[in-house]
């Protein structure tokens, strides 16, 4: 199945993938919608990165997702690539995944007339592999209502300012009460076989004051939780170091009130 084609078509054009049949779902307009329902967001899988980045609704209710979408590829790619495609292609570097993980998102799909819903945290099972069964079609990405006062942030390290596959990406969502961490989620891309939530770091931070020392300790934990690969962009050493640095920067920015929302 092909939506925007930004991941699939390059492979087809190079004769690396030779599908016998391609079903294009680009024109199913019902899947290209952003709806506010039950206080949360139901995002159609065909919503493009441009639409996400420019949507006032998404900026208001899932700020880090809008930021991440604005940094995917180039403006041309963003006009074509979709959130559903980004998740299904399941690159370890998928930029929309870390924010969605920190927002507690879920994926909804239909298969054989039945609807299933799965937390995004359980959706990725390996590089370019998801638990989506054959023949299934994603019908929505659910972002639950955010707790009041939640702040979110997304940061990305690329090797150029133009379109760049992330060397590391981080998303965080946070609720502070009197400088104490009430709720925190911290997710990373490009530093493990799948985008993941740094559970140890999250557990450590919960209930603690958000200050330089706790942030540094949480960043160390997150770096230890990463299992980065070495590739053409960076070594695993550098990725692990940057996990630490970007975790620190994301949390520090939120503690200073510099997140989105």
């Amino acid at each position: 199945m092909v939506a925007g084609g930004t991941d699939l078509l390059p492979q087809v054009n190079r004769y690396l993938l030779k599908p016998k049949v391609l079903i294009s779902i680009r024109n199913i307009s019902e899947l290209n919608d952003i709806q506010e329902t039950e206080g949360g967001l139901m995002i159609g899988p065909l919503v493009t990165h441009s639409s996400l980045a420019n949507s006032l609704t998404v900026k208001a209710k899932a700020g880090s997702l809008a930021e991440a979408a604005a940094r995917v590829g180039s403006p041309l790619i963003r006009n074509l690539g979709t959130i559903g495609g980004n998740l299904c292609w399941a690159s370890p570097a998928a930029d929309t995944a870390p924010p969605l993980l920190t927002l507690g998102a879920a994926v909804i799909w239909q298969q054989g007339g039945r609807e299933r819903k799965k937390d995004l945290a359980d959706f990725f099972i390996g590089p370019n592999r998801t638990c989506l069964p054959p023949g299934a079609l994603i019908t929505g990405i659910w972002v639950p209502p955010l707790p009041p006062g939640m702040k979110t942030i997304f940061l990305k390290l690329g090797l150029r300012n133009g379109a760049a596959i992330s060397v590391v990406s981080v998303a965080a969502s946070l609720v502070l009460e009197d400088r104490m961490v009430r709720r925190v989620r911290l997710a990373f891309g490009s530093v493990a076989p799948v985008p993941f939530l740094a559970g140890q770091a999250e557990k450590f931070l919960s209930g603690k004051p958000l200050e330089a020392e706790t942030i540094a300790a949480a960043a160390d934990l997150a770096a230890a939780e990463a299992s980065p690969a070495s590739d053409v962009r960076a070594s695993s050493w550098y990725r692990r170091e940057m996990t630490r640095v970007y975790a620190r920067r994301a949390l520090t920015a939120l503690s200073a009130g510099n997140g989105t929302i």
């Binding site: 390059p10 054009n13 180039s74 403006p75």
Partner: protein, 165 residues
Amino acid sequence: MDDWIDLSIVLNGAPHALKVRPNWTLLRVLREQLGITSVREGCSEGQCGACTVLLNGDPVPSCLLLAGTLENAEIVTLEGLKKGDRLHPLQEAFHNFGAVQCGFCTPGMILSAKALLDRNPNPGYEDIREAISGNLCRCTGYLKPVEAIYQVSRGRTSPAPEEDP
């Protein structure tokens, strides 16, 4: 492959009825069936921007679009910017400000710029650089193209006399 898909598109304001193979990209159809040479093949993976077209107003890489999915699409290429013999202001400006060298990336870059100016008539330099960041150029270093686009947004298509463009 035996099948053909019947396709109706609007290209530069004119309707076209075509037959395309399922695996043909819009890039191929434009170049080989419709005689559009401003849209060019530089990488086939959506990274260079030389194949940029406006699809319903949005700049996209035509090498990543399967033509068969584009029923009723409105497509604009550089050829659609001219009004009779008159060049579009962006074309004038690229010419007069020295923003074109080998010219291969120019149509794609101009379309991205047009899309920017259509939605934001008063962009800053950052906005312009962002808007054309998907159009790679190896010749100009982007400096004169960015300036040309900026000048067009401020109503100029050529340098003022006695002034450096």
